[in-house]
Symmetry: C2
Subunit: 257 residues, 2 copies
DNA sequence: CTCATATGTCTCTATAATAGAACCGTAATT
DNA sequence: AATTACGGTTCTATTATAGAGACATATGAG
């Protein structure tokens, strides 16, 4: 059904991440338990096309400038900076915490836009960061509004633990999602990282399918008290309403399977 | 030597550009003169891996969020925004024109950072834009400082014309590059686009090989007079000197074949 | 309604590309 | 001098792919 060679090659690409930005041929081959000849051919082909470059001294490979091009095209397509980012910045200023927009992509949430808090201690994450849907406020908010069968798929697929707070039990997760869906927002502490709190609300496309979430996050010692939480939810929902209005107007062009 | 399947697949990916951001299976197959079965398998495989997404209504494919991730990683690696971008912004403010940084990548120049002019009419281009080395001030500046054999390769490979001003004659180009190399800067009008002027100076790695250029560009009606040009060159070279100092300090990690 | 022409997806098999072991030259380390 | 690592190359049995064709579906025309 799919092309095995291409599939394998893209799998190889995925080993180039923030933690391991450069790989030697044999080094990567060992990591993947594949013959180094194969890895060599894959890396060389990517390099020929500018998707990877090889350091002429160390002979190691890293991501090439071609990705700048494609990344920018995706960014332009989303076109969030003109209207959505200002709303997020206002929110970040009002709440004094970082605000970010997370997009649904398969079984992950992807951070597509960020408005950072002006405070020196703040939650900070890169654009393009990918997180499984069962972890953290931004992702669980999205997951809670997915069709039941897709929730089932995710919990059945096995939920990896990131911190002690990560929910990994299927029934516990489904109950949690049920609650999130009913109240319309999700508040978490320490799920994604042990020192971080998050508060998320969902965003929908024109067919009322969830496509994204808007989230506030900050260090756990600044987390809102139980009395303050409703106010924060209110402010966040007001921001989300504005973004939702924009989405509705320009009926968004990003999908999920 | 290289993997044909992967090579072809990456070639397919290159058809997704700003002008044609979405493709149907048969539409793209026709464009590339390839069987639609092949294109279908390639697109489906990319989609499986999140590199493309398919609009469930139109069934057409477009770039997926995976590229946000990779694009951001390349950007982080270049790490220009902390030190180099401020210098560029100062320059742009002083000269009142857009300033951009172009990186050498194979036989192309790639725009990696931009400081836009505050004027309403300004030269504007996206990050990641790719231009053949023989076109425009930013690229010719780089080409002029390449080893002679690489210049030869490029001129012999045939130089595509973008505007009537584009130099396509090999001897004329080599003479032009010789002049640029001697004076240390390159001034062009109407080569990249008929209504644009550009002024570029080169940047080098620790081995004194050219790796990038710093360029000013604006609408042609604001181009500097012959008397004003030396002053503009001075200001640009001063900015380039600061960036060069930064490069030398943090010996840069991007290469070329 | 019927016909014609699109579309994405799937199946089949001859054929061509790939996998993977073994090898080479080089460079660093012992 | 010997060993061990590295990136890159060669070879051929094996396997995945190319490409034609078919299918279901959608669209538009007459």
């Amino acid at each position: 059904m799919t092309l095995k060679t291409l599939d394998n090659s893209l799998e190889v690409l995925k080993y180039f991440n923030k933690e391991n930005p450069t790989w030697g041929v044999r080094e990567l081959a060992k990591e993947m338990n594949i013959s180094h000849s194969i890895i060599y051919r894959i890396l060389a082909t990517f390099e020929n096309q500018g998707f990877l470059i090889q350091n002429p001294e160390t002979k190691k490979y890293e991501l090439g400038l071609r990705f700048l091009e494609y990344g920018q095209m995706v960014k332009d397509k989303l076109n969030l900076s003109d209207f959505v980012l200002p709303i997020m910045k206002n929110l970040a200023e009002a709440i004094k915490e970082s605000v970010f927009l997370t997009w649904l992509d398969g079984t992950d949430g992807v951070t597509v836009e960020i408005a950072e808090s002006s405070q020196t201690i703040k939650f900070s994450v890169s654009i393009g960061t990918r997180t499984p849907l069962h972890i953290g406020a931004s992702c669980k908010t999205i997951m809670a509004f997915l069709p039941e069968e897709r929730k089932k798929e995710i919990v059945d697929h096995g939920m990896k633990r990131l911190t002690p707070e990560t929910i990994t039990d299927p029934d516990e997760m489904l109950a949690d999602l049920e609650k999130i869906q009913q109240q319309g927002w999700c508040f978490t502490t320490g799920e994604y990282s042990h020192s971080v709190f998050g508060l998320g609300v969902p965003l929908f496309n024109s067919k009322r399918e969830v496509i994204a979430s808007l989230t506030i996050a900050g260090p756990i010692y600044r987390k809102p008290t139980e009395e303050k939480l409703p106010e924060m939810v209110n402010v966040l929902q007001y921001g989300a309403m504005n973004i939702q209005r924009y989405f509705d107007q320009y009926s968004f062009k990003l999908y999920h399977d």
